[in-house]
């Protein structure tokens, strides 16, 4: 082409046109997040529960519900005061007899649709949510009946569920309060959430769920207008998103990402000791691990310090089936530590000297959800093989693993050992003890031990909180350790990253967030 003024002008015009979108905005622009009045959270999991909190137990859904729905009480489970109770919709709770607890409610609290929150809503919520055929009934120790004493006083009776009212002290921190009108209209309840929380539901757009500040929130005033819950499944993408400013908070960082980002002044990192322990659940209802001596031999073959090193920043050592934020937590005396000689002695007593005669033991883990669990499982398998135990590792994608880990009455359980983390949002220990060690539940290990059953029932029915703690610490936990239906490897640590100029976000050990004091500097 000949060089001419016309040619140069044409070229320049073409270049400028290429840089503009049809709307006249520059094509290349800063990738920063919009404004300072919006907080965007990138979640590793999608929301897969519907808006009726009783119909699911999905962690991500629970986390967003914590922003929308109010609760009678909350338990921040801070490391310096793990059993602290913060009153929210209730101003006081009082155990009036073994099977009754009375709540005094805060006045002038409104749902997002303008209706006032009263004792009638507490009655409707609890009686609805505690029905045992509901997925969300997991959070209730049993069905309850609620008496409306007056507009702002509700008395909850637990004798129908045969559990003492004292168990509600901490369990209530897992119960979102619904409107009675919504409970009576399940179709509406499922399609949009209506709570009393600081944020109210606006809409869902594709993979984003948008919440707006509730101007009528009685517990304070948020320093931002909008909260967006965005699903970004890939961990690296989440990190890139927070570095670029596209999102403000991310969760589930890998340990090596923690190490890298701790040098980056664009983000702040938070480590929170989680409400979750990682367990090896032995299939106690299937040979060869129906043999308690073999189970204990396996426990003594594992160096938990090495395992925790592999997990790095995402783990903290633990010698208990409960995590430190749980009521009754204690370092269990004589909890197995690595001891090769002890392992060999137990193998011999079990009838498998040096592992001879043992069939292959399959250890099932997932990949893509918990940090580093494939890596530490590989080390554990090597440790077992070193002791002569013929272990084999099976790694599955999360959905496949989730289907295989549960005990089912009609089939032989899959694998011999399964790796599972268990996180519950309150200090109430029975969400772990009953779910995992009571023979009528025993979700993963299938243990059926009358002694364990008896000691869990004993502590469950103890109305005195100090006596209950003593039973858990001196009898329940040591008994479980002695029977070894499962082996707790470590307590998980949640790692979050936030933009450096975002302050005041508190992360609960369950992964939920308290945004009441969140603000940009």
């Amino acid at each position: 082409m000949k060089k001419s003024r016309r040619g140069i002008i044409k070229f320049a015009a073409l270049g400028a046109g290429l840089l503009l979108t049809p709307q006249g905005r520059p094509l290349l622009r800063s990738a920063k997040a919009e404004g300072r009045r919006k907080i965007v959270f990138a979640s590793a999991e999608p929301l897969t529960g519907n808006w009726d909190p009783t119909t699911h137990t999905i962690l991500a859904q629970l986390n967003i519900e914590a922003q929308i729905f109010g609760q009678l009480v909350r338990c921040p489970m801070r490391s310096d005061n793990p059993l602290e109770i913060v009153y929210e919709l209730a101003t006081a709770q009082k155990i009036t007899d073994t099977y009754t607890i009375e709540y005094t409610l805060r006045r002038d609290v409104k749902f997002h649709n303008g209706a006032e929150f009263t004792a009638g809503d507490v009655k409707a919520t609890m009686e609805y949510a505690s029905q045992q055929d509901k997925p969300g009934a997991f959070w209730y120790p049993g069905p309850v009946e609620v008496e409306v004493v007056d507009r702002y006083t509700a008395r909850v009776h637990t004798n129908k569920g045969n559990f003492p009212a004292s168990m509600m002290t901490f369990a209530a921190a897992a119960w979102p309060m619904l409107s009675a009108a919504d409970v009576n209209d399940p179709a509406t309840l499922r399609t949009r959430p209506n709570g009393t929380g600081p944020l109210k539901f606006v809409e869902q757009k594709g993979n984003d769920t948008i919440l707006a500040r509730n101007p009528d929130w009685t517990s304070g005033s948020l320093a931002f207008d909008e909260f967006v819950f965005s699903h970004i499944p890939d961990g690296t993408t989440r990190v890139l998103a927070v570095l670029s400013g596209e999102v403000d908070i991310i969760e589930r960082l890998e340990p090596e990402q923690y190490a890298t980002l701790s040098k980056d002044n664009r983000v702040k990192l938070t480590r929170t000791v989680a409400n979750e322990n990682k367990y090896m659940h032995f299939r106690c209802n299937k040979p060869p691990l129906d043999n308690v001596l073999l189970r204990k031999a396996i426990a003594y073959a594992i160096d938990r310090d090495q395992v925790a090193q592999v997990v790095g920043a995402a783990a903290t050592p633990s010698n208990c089936y409960l995590n430190p934020a749980k009521f009754g937590y204690i370092d269990i005396p004589e909890y197995p530590r690595f001891d090769a000689a002890k392992c060999q002695e137990l193998l011999k007593q079990a009838g498998f000297p040096k592992g001879n005669g043992l069939p292959e033991i399959e250890y099932l883990v997932s990949e893509g959800f918990y940090p580093k669990n494939k890596e530490y499982a590989e080390i554990i398998v090597a440790m077992l093989q070193e002791q002569g135990i013929p272990a084999k590792l099976t790694v599955m994608e999360v959905a496949a693993w989730l289907e295989r880990i549960f005990q089912k009455k009609s089939t032989v359980p899959y694998a011999d050992i399964v790796d599972v983390g268990w996180s519950t949002g309150t200090p109430e220990p029975n969400f772990i003890l009953k779910a995992q060690f009571l023979s009528s539940k025993a979700l993963f290990n299938g243990i059926n031990d009358p002694e364990i059953d008896a000691i869990i029932e004993l502590e469950s029915k103890e109305p005195d909180i100090d006596k209950r703690r003593e039973i858990i610490q001196t009898r329940t936990l040591p008994t479980i350790a002695e029977k070894m239906p499962s082996f707790s490897l470590f307590t998980s640590v949640l790692i979050h990253a936030t933009r450096a100029n975002l302050e005041g976000v508190y992360f609960y050990p369950s992964g939920a967030m308290d945004l009441s004091k969140a603000h940009y500097t």
């Binding site: 979108t21 094509l27 290349l28 622009r29 800063s30 990738a31 920063k32 999608p46 929301l47 897969t48 529960g49 519907n50 808006w51 009726d52 119909t55 699911h56 137990t57 999905i58 962690l59 859904q61 055929d133 509901k134 997925p135 997991f138 399940p186 179709a187 499922r190 399609t191 809409e203 869902q204 757009k205 594709g206 993979n207 984003d208 769920t209 965005s230 699903h231 970004i232 499944p233 890939d234 690296t236 993408t237 890139l240 998103a241 570095l243 670029s244 596209e246 999102v247 599955m396 994608e397 999360v398 959905a399 496949a400 693993w401 989730l402 289907e403 295989r404 549960f406 005990q407 089912k408």
Partner: protein, 325 residues
């Protein structure tokens, strides 16, 4: 015209058979592989009997053939079913007590909502690939055994060696996270398509470069090229009017084959960039075991593949009149 209609009818029948086979294979495999969609909907703490109850309500415990026939009956009526997990807005909704399945998103709507974004991504990727590959391939073919040929070879080798997921992360790290020039995570405007499209373009360009280089070089050896030059046509005229057209047919056929690479690349790239297209929907659906959505996506992508290859054949026949049906 009769031959054309006959050709179309044959190819469409073959396509229908392929779609039928793929739909049954995907349908059956989903129900055989581990992963219970109901458990994923309800969560890990739900009692087993509640999971079974919900599964029966959804018809997931019926015999496989019955489930398939029920599904295909709906497909014949134009109903691709409703998602197990997504609400009409596109976000997920699960749980049980959802006796009114009408609350769940129609799979057709989910696909229709995400397909345009994927077409946009694929289209821009093709444009980038053509911008990269055609000049390089042409130069390489016109100057065979000289440095442009070597350059085309080296560039193609580098591009084919670079893993697309690594390239995507690097581009996002440099241009989005560090420099802040081009946003790329999620979607909030056309500009979010640029980096993902570039990654896919790098993936599909190498084979176009090599094939065009070889094709152009081979065509330049043809006697008619020498004769055309001897007849007095300029080199430029010969290349544009004769060489390109004759070289195009193998490359056009390649685009049909490259569609498979394109669709596969879109899946990974959309996941890395959280780009809300059909690929991202596919990954989400697989992870959540959203059976109706996975089945429908399999049928849609098979149909697209069949139709694109049919189109490529038709265009090739138009370009090169020596080809017939």
């Amino acid at each position: 015209m009769v031959f054309l209609l006959g050709f179309l009818a044959r190819r469409l029948l073959q396509g229908a058979a392929i779609i039928g086979l793929v739909s049954f294979a995907v349908f059956a495999l989903l129900r055989v592989i581990p992963g219970d969609p109901v458990r994923l909907m309800l969560g890990p703490m739900t009692p087993d009997y509640v999971v079974e109850q919900t599964a029966r309500q959804l018809g997931l415990r019926d015999p496989l053939l019955l489930q398939y026939l029920r599904y295909m009956k709906g497909v014949m009526k134009g109903e691709l079913g409703r998602s197990f997990t997504k609400a009409p807005s596109g976000e997920a909704v699960g749980g049980n007590l959802d006796l009114n399945r009408g609350e769940r998103a129609k799979v057709f709507d989910l696909i229709a909502g995400t397909l345009p974004l994927t077409f946009q991504l694929a289209g821009l990727a093709l444009v980038f690939a053509i911008i990269i590959a055609v000049p390089l391939g042409l130069l390489g073919g016109l100057h065979a055994d000289r440095w442009p040929d070597s350059l085309a070879l080296y560039v193609a080798s580098v591009f084919v060696s670079v893993p697309n997921f690594w390239l995507g992360i690097m581009l996002a790290l440099i241009f989005t996270a560090q420099l802040g020039w081009i946003p790329s995570i999620g979607y909030n405007g056309f500009v979010y398509t640029v980096l993902p499209a570039l990654v896919i373009a790098v993936e599909i360009a190498p084979i176009v470069i090599r094939s065009l280089t070889v094709s152009v070089a081979a065509t330049m050896q043809q006697p008619f090229v020498e004769i055309a030059l001897l007849r007095g046509l300029s080199r430029r005229q010969v290349i544009i009017s004769h060489v390109l057209r004759n070289s195009a047919v193998p490359v056009l056929n390649l685009f049909g084959v490259q569609l498979g690479t394109l669709l596969g690349g879109v899946l990974i790239v959309e996941y890395i960039f959280s780009y809300p297209g059909l690929g991202f929907l596919t990954v989400q659906s697989v992870l959540q075991r959203d059976f109706p959505t996975i089945q429908a996506i399999a049928m849609v992508t098979t149909s697209v593949f069949v139709l694109i290859n049919l189109l490529v054949d038709l265009i090739s026949a138009y370009v090169d009149r020596r080809l017939d049906y």
